[in-house]
Structures are given as structure tokens and as C-alpha cells.
Symmetry: D2
Subunit: 350 residues, 4 copies
């Protein structure tokens, strides 16, 4: 039987969109058909959104994107002020990005592992599998423990996931970030708030459960889902022109779309999201939100119709092309980061 070291030898390498220029390729796709044309239009809208200096850009992340090699794309998007807030599944932020910031890596799994026929062997070796990617479960347990440690160091009380993730950034600032590119750390430095509306649904959950269990009846921390929603809604109210760049669907898509309605509930006549891009392989025909069209969102008053585009593609293919196009077009160069986290620190202080 192969050893753990046999399996975990080729690390996933993150693509660097600053190193190649897909502009001529994407421009060539503008008058083709099907996904190529959709992708070219999505790239064009993204560029347009970044040139609209009033627009606050919200990046939504669902699916295993960071372990798949897209970490640097999103970390660079923060660094170059292309993004003002992030809404994500917990896995991308905690188990994958923060995990790498602690010095760990994801590994290339051989194609045959996808068959599922080796999962019992992987289980025995304490290796976790995401389709064709491998993780050392012992390292993931270290990540769980750090989450527990951060929970214990926070004063007891109610936090948004954004506040907790900011504390993760502070942890990296203090202890040192052990990777050259981290979403959590870059967001911390650039005052970009990150929200994980289902925060316990990842490595954070294991840390929180351990914290709650250890504290028993003593005061403890709580991660308030409502506070998350309130905070992101405050961003919308403070900066009414917004755009969504959504990779995958799920909770992040819905959550970010809903702030238009939430602002309205609070008596602010906020406009719909002016720009909306979604990259997804989800199917429209099962009625789940992940695949629901952006037109459908307009019936709910969430997304405007003029600048919306769905791209039916797996993210590892489409994201480098679209974000690479936007990077090299340079429309973001006049943007100043909105630094919404600064504003929220005031808002949410208790």
C-alpha cells in the first residue's frame, strides 16, 4: 500500500492571472456562439463594472475553488482593489485559504482516485479527497484547533462571521502568514469584509463546537447569522451602486442578492445590483437557486437586467479567463477600495 507521502507529493499550484494576457483570446470570442460569447460578454461586463468607480463589488464564492488553484486570483483581486466584499462558503475561507496560510498545502490526486475505489485506503491514511485533490487530515485538524484557539481568545459575546474572520486575519498578522498569497490576510490588510453566512459549516464549525463544549455554562462566543446579513445590508445602504461577481451558486449567491430586499425592509430604497456575473455548472431546470438565472432574480427586485451574464462553465476554466481579461484591461486602476470593513467596525461595535 502506498504511504501518505506517496499520495501527498505534488502540491496544487495557484494560477497567476498577472502572468499571461488572455485579452486577445477573449476578444476573439465576442462574435462566436454559445459559452465563448457568453464568457466574452461576462469579461466585458466585469471590466465595465470595475470602471464604474461608484460601484461596490461583491465577490461570491461557492464550490471548492481555493483548493482547486484559484486562491491567487481572488487574493490578487483584493490586493488590486477589484473587490470590496466577499461572501463565501466556509470551506473556501477557512479549510482552504486559512489552512494554506497556516503553512499547509493541497495536493494533486491521481485521476484514478476520482473513481472512489481508493477511498477506503485514503481513509486509513487519513487523507481527505475533493474529487481529484487531496488533503492531509491531520493538518486539517490543526486548522480546527487554531479555530478553537481563536474562539477562546475572543471576548465572549455575539460576533458576525466577518468579525471572526477579521480575527483570523489578525492571527496571521501576529503569527505570520505562511503562504505568499492569502485571501483572509489580504482582506484583513485591505479592509475587505468577508462573510460566511453558514460559518459553522466548515473547519470553523469544529473549532466552535469544541469551544462551546469546553465552555459549558460559562460565557462563550456566538456567530450570529443575522448580524452577517445586517452588516452586508449596511454596505449596500452606504454604497447603493453594487455589482456581484459570483462563482458558483449556493448560499453566497442568495445571501448577496438578498441585501437589496433587506435594505428595502429597513426603509432604504436601494437600487438592484447593477452588474451581475455568475459562473456555474448548475442546471437551471431543477429550480434550485444555484442555477436560477439572473433574469429570475430580477423578478425579485434583486438584479438589474442590463448588465448580467451567466457563464456555463466549471470555474477553473472560466475564472482565469474572465478575471485575467479584467486585470489586463486595467479598468480597475482608478478604483479605490471601499474599505467597508472600517465602516462596519464602527457599526457593529457593541
Amino acid at each position: 500500500m502506498p504511504t501518505k507521502a506517496d499520495y501527498l507529493k505534488d502540491p496544487i499550484e495557484h494560477i497567476d492571472i498577472t502572468k499571461f494576457n488572455p485579452v486577445p483570446l477573449v476578444n476573439s470570442m465576442k462574435n462566436m456562439a454559445f459559452t465563448a460569447r457568453d464568457l466574452a460578454r461576462a469579461a466585458d461586463i466585469t471590466d465595465r463594472m470595475l470602471r464604474d468607480e461608484e460601484c461596490g463589488v461583491i465577490l461570491c464564492l461557492a464550490g471548492s475553488l481555493i483548493s482547486a488553484g484559484l486562491k491567487k486570483v481572488f487574493a490578487d483581486a483584493i490586493k488590486y482593489k477589484m473587490v470590496d466584499a466577499i461572501v463565501s462558503t466556509g470551506a473556501n475561507i477557512v479549510d482552504q485559504d486559512f489552512f494554506e496560510a497556516l503553512g499547509f498545502k493541497h495536493y494533486v490526486g491521481e485521476e484514478k482516485l476520482r473513481s472512489g475505489m481508493f477511498d477506503a485506503e485514503l481513509r486509513e491514511l487519513e487523507i481527505d479527497r475533493i474529487y481529484d485533490t487531496l488533503i492531509d487530515e491531520e493538518q486539517l485538524r490543526v486548522c480546527d484547533d487554531v479555530m478553537h484557539e481563536i474562539s477562546d481568545h475572543l471576548d465572549s459575546g455575539v460576533y458576525s462571521s466577518r468579525e471572526f474572520i477579521r480575527a483570523m486575519g489578525q492571527y496571521l498578522e501576529t503569527k505570520g502568514c505562511k503562504t505568499d498569497s492569502s485571501i483572509v490576510y489580504e482582506a484583513y490588510k485591505n479592509e475587505v469584509p468577508i462573510f460566511c453566512p453558514a460559518f459553522s459549516d466548515c473547519s470553523a464549525g469544529f473549532g466552535l463546537v469544541a469551544h462551546l463544549h469546553a465552555r459549558g455554562d460559562a460565557p462563550k462566543i456566538a456567530i450570529d447569522s443575522g448580524k452577517d446579513f445586517y452588516e452586508l445590508t449596511r454596505c449596500k445602504m452606504a454604497n447603493p451602486t453594487t455589482g456581484l461577481f459570483m462563482v458558483g451558486g449556493g448560499v453566497p449567491k442568495n445571501f448577496a442578492q438578498d441585501i437589496v430586499v433587506a435594505a428595502d425592509v429597513l426603509g432604504h430604497d436601494a437600487p438592484m445590483h447593477k452588474y451581475a456575473i455568475q459562473i456555474t455548472v448548475a442546471d437551471v431546470r431543477d429550480g434550485a437557486l444555484s442555477g436560477s438565472t439572473l433574469k429570475e432574480a430580477s423578478s425579485w427586485g434583486k438584479v438589474d437586467l442590463a448588465y448580467e451574464q451567466m457563464v456555463f462553465s466549471e470555474a477553473t476554466l472560466a475564472v482565469p479567463l474572465i478575471m485575467g481579461y479584467a486585470f489586463h484591461q486595467g479598468g480597475w486602476k482608478n478604483r479605490k477600495g471601499k474599505r467597508w470593513a472600517e465602516m462596519l467596525e464602527g457599526v457593529t461595535a457593541e
Copy 2:
């Protein structure tokens, strides 16, 4: 232009699996191929899981299932003690089930509406669209308001979503449930806990945001995502043999799978989920968890390999067949409900 009444005239009718017997049909599929054989095997495993009296059954719901006409299937599953806990997206529980319990309905939308070409018109009429289904947005705002009202009536403090949803059940008990079949109300009566790990990502979010905004610096409620995870993990520890019946993927799938690891983190050597069924149209090839195979979950130590089955089908087709099969086979008749909510009331009281 048609009026609102023109659009909202044919209500969605919920399928009643007690009224037809799909057993001969499903049995005929056992030695076919492809999805038919998978579905027949899933039905068989479901029956087997219900005959295993030690097994605690966790139902996971993602996608717009209740508005699609599956409400009675799940409400009956609770009523007939086929289910011991539910993990769901907020939309199914609040915007759809509770919404109907308040006396409102979902409506059949004409096929042409799917094209998205009428969404501006629907927007003007304040009609929300889910693919081929319509909702009166004014009624949805009433639902938001009731969520706000329930938030305001709770003592300030930290709640799990389960506790909040239980309060929704109490509300129906007090004010009257205005529909003949409700998941929230049936769960309340049968002590079946319901968890929505991303609780603010639905109509509940609008109520919570309104509550937080109105309260300002005054004491308020918080919905703690960590507490949700801790509570469901307690169920696993109290009742180690468990099975998952998952419709769709998303947060509910991941959350329910993760409690095996969480129990381990707390020092309990809990076995993997013994049974696991998933009905999904999600694609395995994008690496998102929604479509990840149950075999992959076994590499993480979450799901056992002996009794797992994925069914690649849209839920409205597969759920009535599988649950109808399980109902008419009667394997559940010796089951006693686990009444986990009673246990958790003790656990989570502060």
C-alpha cells in the same frame, strides 16, 4: 397587461404519497440500468434504514422543494415517524413551508415565464418567480413581518436556528396553522428538530435584520451558527447510528455529514453515517460538494460505503417514488420517533 390575479390563480398542489402505491413500479426498476436501477436501490436502502430501529434519520433539504409541491411528502414523513431531524435551507422552511402555514400559497406559472422575458412585468406586479412557480411578494412581506414579530417576542440572547424554528411552531400552535400540512408545525408537535445553518439566508434574515435595526444598542437576539452545529452533533453522540436522506446538496448536505467529525473532535468515537441517500442533479465534475459522491465523503470518514446511493434526478420526480415506496413498504411502522428536540431543550437551556 394581465393583473396579479391573472397570474396567481392555479395554486401548487402538494403530492400525497399515501394515495398511490409505487412499489410495483419501483420493484420493476431493480434489474434495469442507469437511474432506474439507482432509484430502486435508493428506495430499498431507505426502507432498510427505516427498519433499523436504532437509526436516527436526518432529512436534508436544499433547492426549492416545498414550493415545488413536495411539502406534504416531508410533513407526512415527520407525522409517520420516518424522520428524526431536518437540516434545510432557510427558504424551504421559512419562505415556503411557514409561509403556507400562514395561509398563503404558491402558484403555477405558465411555461413561457421560464424564458425570463416577462420578469420586468412580474416585477411591476410584485410577483416573485422561482423558475415555473409564482409567489405574491406582498404575502412574502407579511411572512418577513411575522419573523420580525417572533424575533421581538423572544427574550434577548443567543439561539440556535432550531430554537427559533421551534418558536415558529409555537406561533402556529397559538395562532392556528392555516394549511392542512406543515413541516414546521408537524416537527413542533413531534419533537423533530429543524436546523437551518444559514438561517438569515431567507425570509428569516429580513425579520432578523429588522429586529437588529430596530433594537439598535438594546439587547437583542442572535442566531448562533455554532450552536446549531453543536446541537446536531449532540444528537449524533446520543444516537450513534444515523442515516441521511438528502434532497439536493449545498449547506445541508455538508452540515449533516460533518457531525461525524464534530463528534470525533469532542472525543466521541462516533461511527460514520450508516445509510446515505442523495437525490441531485448536481454534477460531480465541478468538485462542489453538492455533487460530490458519497464515496468521496467516506474518504473524510463521514459516510459508510455499504448503504449509500446517489440518484441523478430532479427531486420532484424521484422523491415521490422513493418516499412513496418507503411509505407503502411500511418498514417505518415499528419506528418510534427519537424526539431529539426534547433532549436538546435540556441541552441548550442556558
Copy 3:
């Protein structure tokens, strides 16, 4: 290593729609959403098409449907005069239906075989795999040989695939049909023409290649793709009201749709197909015809818009429900078979 007999022990069993009544189930789906509602509408249109006594019904088959256990559904559809012509991939008709009529069977393959990890072993044992279904390759070679034999017994000259398949029916009539339900044999007895527009793309191809090779410069047979198209177009001209029941997409879908245009090319102002049902998992977004909507076909003047319905489902699930519904509703009871093969025998005699 397991033997061939270990692998080939559980035969695929063909579902019998005359044995269970899905009418109450399908009726319950009419006011649901998503695929359930689509399927119920497709069932209703199918019934309506069968009650329209003027309508000639063309069944289109693509995908491995017969090996999957749907043989008896289609054979019964011929027997009960629910179908007037068939357009199919060669595999369904030759490698699968005729193969079983020669006395051979398809076998259930264990789920783990789907992983592809055992294909080298299967190769060694001369077992062919279709996803989760197995075939004895030696038996398939017998089928190839019979096709060669039939080719050699035909007078040299030009044939449509329909004429060749009719000869296969005659072969079964003479030698005995060794299965209780066969599409080829039932069609032969009921004068239902079967067309395989890419006839050499299956076991027939191996027989034909052997025939051509053996004959060398001597006179031989040819299977004329143009003659196929001409013959089916003649059916349309003789019986202008037509409906399509399409399972899968591919060549059969396109071929059958195109006869409307072909009739027009020949100066007959034939109406579009009045009814059209398609059951498919193909995606609309890649622009291939298999997933193109029936509305798109209407822009080409092929399919009328009033009675068309696509059902997004794998066929083994949807076909038994829709055809079972149509069978038990009994709308076909007044139909007389059109016996188009009789007409074509006259037309195509040289």
C-alpha cells in the same frame, strides 16, 4: 480474478408498463413544479396525440435504451398500435434488440464497475460494458455474423436501412424469435417501418464491412442513407398529421424533424409535426441538437408550438411513467396502425 460467468449472472429485466398503473401518480404531478409538471404535461400530450386518429406517431430512440430495460415498453407500443414508425440509432435496434431476439441477454453490472477501474479485466474476459450493464462480446460477434449472413442473402443492390431491418424481421420469422418481446419482430409483424439513418454505426456495420470485404469487386449490397430519408418523407406526405415521441436526441431527433422540410422540398406543403415530446438529459447550453428546445425547432418550421414538451430526465425513469400513463389512459384503443411499411414496399420496389 472472477470468471466471465461471475460477471454475467443477473440479466437485465425489461419493465412491463401493462403491469402497473401510474395514472394517479402522474396526475398528482400536474400542479407541482419543475420536472414533475413537465412530465405530467408530456404524458397528457402523448395521450392526446394517441387520441388523434389522423396522427402518425414516430418514435425516435437514441441512447442505450434497450440494454437498459426499456425494450418491452417499445415493443408493446408497436403491438398496441401506439407507434407507426421508428427512427433509431443502430445500437438499439441491432446490437440490443435483435441481439436479444437471437437469444442473448444483457447483464446487470455491479456499481463499482462504473468507476472504470475494472475495464482492463473486462477486456480480458471479452465483456463489454455500457456504464452499469454488461454484454458478452462473443455473443455480440455472433450478432455481427448474422448481420453478415443477412447481407449475403439479400440480392445485390441498394437498400434503405428500413428494408434491411425488415429482412432482419423475416430472419426472426423464419428462424424463430428467441425472446418474448422484440421491437424488430413486432415491427415486422405490424408493418411498422424502422429506420437507422447511420446504419453502419453499430453491429450492422461489422456485418456490412465483412460483406463488402468478402465480395470484393463482385456485386454487393449498399445501404442508402438518402433512400431512408426519402422513405420517411413519403410517410409524412401520405399522412400529413404527425407527432414525435423522442427519447434522447442525436441523429434520430434531427432526421425525424427534417422530414417536414424534405416534404416541402418535394413540393408538398406538409404541416409541421403537430405533437412533439422529448425526454433527455442533454443540455440546452451547448447548442447541440440533442438538447435544443422544441421551440427552436419551430423556427426551422419543423415542430408546432402548441403541443410540445421537453422532459429533463434520464429515460429509464421518465419513459415508464409517460408511456405507462398513455397505456393505462387507453387513448390508443381506437387507433389503427398506419402500416406504413406496406406502403413503402410499393414505393421502394425497384
Copy 4:
């Protein structure tokens, strides 16, 4: 109502892979996950196949690829000797490539047309729609007429589709090719045989039907599906090392895979296809061949396992990247075209 000219104003432009270099991008994808890694591996295998000078490369085309803007990619592949034979659906070769060689164009259709809501209007204007692409039906009828004309000019007798398509190349040679890049014409000049195993299933069918109808009992031409298969099998026997580059699935995929078995039937112990790439959005789970894995093909003795890769992506996105990579890597520069058409002219002369 808009006029035909309003709809048909922006022509589809064909992407030119010689003009941009995707090598750095594709190399960056090698150690990512999911589709990116698959695509990078497919690109690497393609390059490897082209460096294998013994290998005969067979390009398989299904789906509306030419109308989508991929014409120049494939025409250039012929021109630069990267391809030795083509197996395609008729639509790509006749209705789309030859159609453009006659001087006609495809047009960009607005996104809203995809909804299907404008198809009645398009019908009235005699505009045909392929998802988001438009065709002038009157021009398509001219193409049908040219096919009729070519049929009439051929001596009566039996032809393979390859022979007919060669006659189409001769037609362009004589009358002038009215586009700067044509698959049919480039193949004619480079002795690359093109096979359409379901030849009547496209504009060719309309021409053939008209020919058969007009000739009545007089001698006429036949397009022999068996001869196609025999000819491609002869290529395999003459050049045993082969590789497949498949875009989409359908008949072309199956047909090209089957020649290994056909060679065996003729007593030649031909090796399996040594290289195999498939780009598809088809789903593996419905058992249709379009989505069946290349591993499954190995159980049939068709495809070797060492160098095979499926890429789950819509073709307009993946083809330019993979073929662009292969072009700029230059592995093809030592290749000499196999000029199989020359060999077949001898073989098939009667």
C-alpha cells in the same frame, strides 16, 4: 416587427488560433484541479499525439461547431497537417462549412432569442435559429439545391459519403470557394477524407431526396453507409497507430471508435486507438455513448487507457485552448499528412 436585415447583421467570426498563444495559460492549469487540470492534460496528450509521426489523427465533430465560430480552427488543423481524417455530423460539413464556402454566413442572434419567445417571428421571416445563432433559410435552400445539383452530376452508382464530400470539394475548386477558410475545401486539397456516417441527416439529405424523387425509376446515386465504414476501417488497417480528437459525442464518436473492432472482424489485429481526447458537456449518467467515458471504450477494445482524457466543457471554450496549445507547441511541424484520400480513391474505385 424587425426585418430580416435587422436580425442578420452581425456575422459570426471564426476564432484564429494562430493569432494568440495560450501555452502559458494552459501550462498554469497543469497543477490546478477539476476541468483546468483535465484540459491541460488533454492539451499535452494532443501535442504528444502530433509528435508521434506514425499516428494517424482522426477528428470527430458533433454539435453545431462550425456555425459557432470554430471553422477556422479545424480548417487550419487540416492545412497544417494536424489531422488525417474527419468523421462528422452532416450539419457541420454541409449546412455550415460548405454553406459558408458558397459565400453565405451565420449571424449572431441576440441573447433574448434563446428564450424561444421570438421563434414564431423568426419563422415568418424565414430565419432559422441554433440557440444564439441565426441562418437565412433562403440561403440554406440554395445550399440544398447545390447538393441536388452535385447529386445529379455524379454518375449513377454507389458512393461513400467521403466520395460525395470530395465531389463537393471539386465543386468549390471549379466554381471558387467564397470564404477564406473551408474544411471541405482544405480537406479536398490535402487529401483528407471526410466521413458523415448519417449523410442524409442534413442539407445533403434534402438534395438527395430531391435527386431520388426526380430520377424516379431512372438510375440514381446511393450513399452507402457500409462503404463509409469500410473505407475508414481501411485507413486503420493501413496505418495501425491512430488517435482520436473528439469534439462532442454522437455518431462520429462511436463510428470512429468502432473501426478497431471492424479491422479485427476483417482479420487484422489492429491495436486500439492509442490516443483519445473528448471534449463534451454530455453526462456520463444516462449511459448514452456521447458521455460514456473513454475507459468504458477500453472494455470494448476500442481505446487504450494510457493517453485518454475527457474534458467536460462546452467546445467553444475548450477547443481554442487545446488546439491553440497544440498549434503553438509546434509538435505537428514534423508531421506529414497521411493523404488517406489518395489511398481510398484506389480502394473504392469500382
